[in-house]
Symmetry: D2
Subunit: 361 residues, 4 copies
């Protein structure tokens, strides 16, 4: 279903950028999780616009919980959170010139003009806000089990800020990243990043980036056969994030460039357990967790809204036109996508952990 | 569900490498498709072992249709095809030393020793055979609608054999690739490929590769919101193919390295239609098809079974051991995965095209 | 999923009786349906409390649409409607004595005390209000296709008010029923009904009833194999309505009491079509529609909340206690369930009609 | 999906009555269940034709397990079982005169003549054989947890053979019923039943019946909100059994004829537990189990194949014709459906028990 995700939980996202409100229903979330509003608002703030490196638009995205939380705990009933759209815009709207690399053109054709595409409508990156609400619940639930999810900006454009060490990444590092205004590993790169953003912004342009995410503490043997692989389930939610064009696990595309003898992850005995001695596979073999950190990267395209002149067509007249998109846009949407990727990953891992037992009880 | 995939059709794969048989049930496949056994066998042959560059093992994988085909056409009832495992092995089997980067270790732990892991069991690449059967039906159905799916080996190890031109790739090229023993674009690279395979084989090693796939002829506006994106649905089946560690659409990870002004796909008017003037997004914007060819690449890891000595552990004694895997293995499983990727893609696109109408009728 | 229903559309209901709000997200509803607020409010009013025969509680259940409707039409994006709970109650609540035949006891045990059970919580009949919102959209959409859904109160307690003639029930009759304060066929029974309700109310008791529903205008051949039968899909949503304990199609349980020669529905030729000459099967054979009216009945239990003294247990002390439930309750909840059954049926039929084509196009 | 059922397990049934074979894939069945072939064959034998009261046709329905069982235990991988159709019929077949109350007419129209309807095709009652295979696995798994499923023939035509006492029905009684050639409670009714069958058979007619099923030993609090109710999930699989036209829980339709004060199930304290003191609700309140026996009844229509002359139409010429169906048919298919209902119920209950935990762990 279009905006419904999950097997054991069902996350149903709704809303349009300029409609009355956006939100999410999370069905099947177990009862008994202490609702940590502070942690959830902190997550939402990381995603929200307004930071130094992001768009200056201000959206005080405060979710209002309508159901599913009672007395400070999840109740087991569906959780609904709504974010009102405070700045209502006119309902007069007519998509005349589709913006390149946005959903505009396919959406207007697919829905024969009925889609509400103001500000991107349901395709807007703004719809990641309710996903973050849902994901932050999963982050909290996982943390209670000793499982930590975290991400960082691994590169922006052609500038590389480093990757996690897939054998050593740990909860401490992942949590530390969340405290940073700029979640990058190479702290010396801070200035390079600021310069790049400033340049891009001045040019009215945008730039893409790669987000790397890790999940540590997941027991061995989670996930499953074929289409229940950890990879497939993570990818199925990650590609729901607007702008993601690639997902790779472990050494990913690089693994295809190597030999089996280089890329295989052997085993060694360690304190009564059998543990991988390398982690080229991103913590997943045969679709199941190996006990090593789960590590993956996603490629985020440059924000498609740019101030530079672009080629498009007037859909009413069919004439080729030059399009100039006004307003303030994120020079690098990948930065704001970092917590979104974490949240999507947390939902996927949480859903996987709710799978029925593999062995009959 | 572990080995069940699809929204409008349900593809349910079963079987273990050394069990009685493997096969697939395809539920929800519409009636009225002429059953082209020849085309299906041709697909299965491309995947089968025994070619010049593949393992010398011989598996005459002839599917036997049990249901769902009658009088030469699909009937609308579930289609079941079974491939008998002719060479039955002993049922005595005890996994003692898990093979690195195989499912062995997580599976034996997950299933408390109950999993049938002989030859990889249900995790074996052999299970792609029924997926090819199902996919070949979808390939035929799509072809009847003027939609062509094809793939090629884009690189092996660090050797690059070229990519599709995402604006020009067409049915003719895609079909031509299927006729080739070695589906690569750069015909001059044939010898380089043969040399590499020979070297790797002699070394008892294996090598990874990248498969690029294109789908041409899909109308604009297919796919959908968030989790029904074309990317997400393709990825959800592709990661079900054993060994795939990365999926990228259009320029994929490279798109993250560029600017919006370079990567956005503008539009121009063309014979009463509005068409993209570039195709960096792989034919998908906002999760929907743009009308340009759908292009994606998958990263396939090196065959994990290699003859070289590897580190592992005896799971009974806990002792570190050196493992030597005998038998004949594919030096580059990516080659045999080319038709599998095509078939998975065809199933995903076929399933997408079966979505309910976007506008009420 | 607990409160998510549907195959082609996904209806996700949320909220608790005394929480902040209740509502529904309808995902996958096609674009282009004119949003008829008046018709929807009329449906909701039929279900709402406050009528002559219902509880005197007043709930001005006005849904607020947050998304998915724009410019007077559905947009194809998820539709969310919220009904605020205006009369907020204290969050102090402790379930001490479970009410017989309510969800109280199993819910408090299942959710270890975390469930919000104030006023029945998510199990309250109040949750049928968002279902009616969703269903009323489907009713409108079906009507546009010439398909009409309607229901009546077929019996209350041991008093029988007549059934539809399964061969003759038509749109006109179904729509006429919706105009009535008391939707019964035998207009002479109005007074008997009023007397019964009055008696039951005075006694502090409640009474069950049977609702009969028909859908006319559905083409032949809708529905499908085995678990996609029209019966199964209708039942799967109908049993989601609190209080329904039985569902039967056509002559239902009576069909089991007859002979094949009496119950089989033969065919005759009629204006180039082949039509059933009787309709004992409720318009469904082999799980598919026959073209005759779909007719089914549901058994609704008496409102479990009664003023009479009942046996229960103090769950904290374990002592047997006599329970007296105060407040004003519906003497016959079946009456208010009539539009709910219609709406559930409309959703099921609408979902069935969105199935992919049975024959390849 | 048409012939796929389940949430945590996926049961995918395939095959046509006169095709190459029929069977089932059960995906997601946990590992570690000892495969009790004898028990499974016993179940299949109860359903198979050939008994004293059934059709004399002989089908030695021996399932062949292709996958998912290894070393005597389920492996956690998909289980596939195939029943070969030994008596192959001609592939020349043309449906000319649709049989009343069969799937023939809607199926031939729905599938534009492509459906394989020989012997009923995929709609044949024969397809309950693979369902019994799957269900017998669930029966065994439940028994290991102390949960017993059993059923009996509660009435045939207008002759009533008694019902379970919903407070007293127990494992011993349920298992005893399975040993009987004629599973009825009122042993004195044996002769009446035999006479009725004989009369019906001689008349070339058929007769319907009611099957009552109970499940004992299910803990309190299983099932869930709205559409995850025990009633809804049982009904969704039961209506997949060809010929079932009604399902009622507890006192079912009778509950609608009573008062709340008569029908509510109060509670009493009993050995530290709170237990219902009556069981009018069939062991289910608020969609969840109460701890009392789950009791439901299904109405099975008379076998639609009868030897008496019936009205139909030649679909090629459009002429009204008199149809005489030859062959040997079951005078009362409800008898053979008893184990099918048990198996469907066992699958539903097993699936429910695999739900994720309601409270976070």
């Amino acid at each position: 279903m279009s905006s419904v995700w999950g097997k054991n939980i069902k996350v149903s996202v709704f809303g349009e950028s300029h409609g009355n409100g956006i939100g999410v229903v999370i069905d099947g979330f177990p009862a008994g999780l202490a609702y940590n509003e502070e942690e959830i608002l902190a997550y939402m703030k990381r995603r929200a616009p307004g930071g130094r490196f992001a768009t200056k638009r201000s959206e005080p995205d405060i979710p209002r919980v309508l159901s599913g939380i009672f007395g400070g705990y999840t109740t087991g009933a569906p959780i609904c959170a709504v974010i009102e759209n405070t700045s209502q815009r006119s309902s007069d709207y007519d998509l005349t010139v589709p913006r390149p690399s946005h959903a505009d053109l396919p959406a207007v054709l697919k829905y024969s003009g009925f889609a509400d595409l103001r500000g991107g409508g349901h395709y807007s990156g703004r719809l990641t806000a309710p996903l973050v609400f849902a994901g932050a619940l999963a982050v909290t639930a996982l943390k209670n089990k000793g499982i930590h999810v975290g991400a960082h900006l691994s590169s922006v454009g052609d500038d590389d800020y480093g990757c996690f060490d897939p054998m050593k990444v740990d909860a401490e590092l992942l949590e530390r990243m969340k405290e940073k205004e700029l979640p990058i590993i190479d702290t010396g790169a801070w200035e390079r990043f600021a310069d790049k953003i400033e340049t891009v912004r001045k040019d009215g342009d945008s730039v893409g980036g790669i987000i790397e995410c890790a999940v540590v503490g997941v027991p061995v043997g989670e996930g499953g056969h074929m289409f229940e692989s950890v990879e497939g389930r993570l990818a199925s939610i990650l590609f729901g994030i607007s702008g993601i064009k690639g997902v790779e696990f472990g050494r990913g595309f690089d693994i295809s460039r190597g030999l089996g003898s280089e890329m295989n992850d052997g085993y060694a005995s360690c304190e009564d357990r059998i543990v991988p001695i390398s982690n080229n596979c991103g913590g997943i073999a045969g679709g199941m967790t190996t006990g090593a950190p789960i590590v993956f990267r996603v490629a985020m395209k440059p924000t498609p809204s740019i101030a530079k002149e672009q080629d498009s067509v007037n859909i009413h007249t069919g004439e080729n036109v030059k399009l100039n998109i006004g307003g303030r846009h994120d020079p690098c949407i990948a930065l704001r996508a970092v917590p979104v990727v974490e949240c999507a990953a947390a939902l996927a891992i949480f859903d996987i952990l709710l799978d029925p037992p593999a062995v009959i009880e």
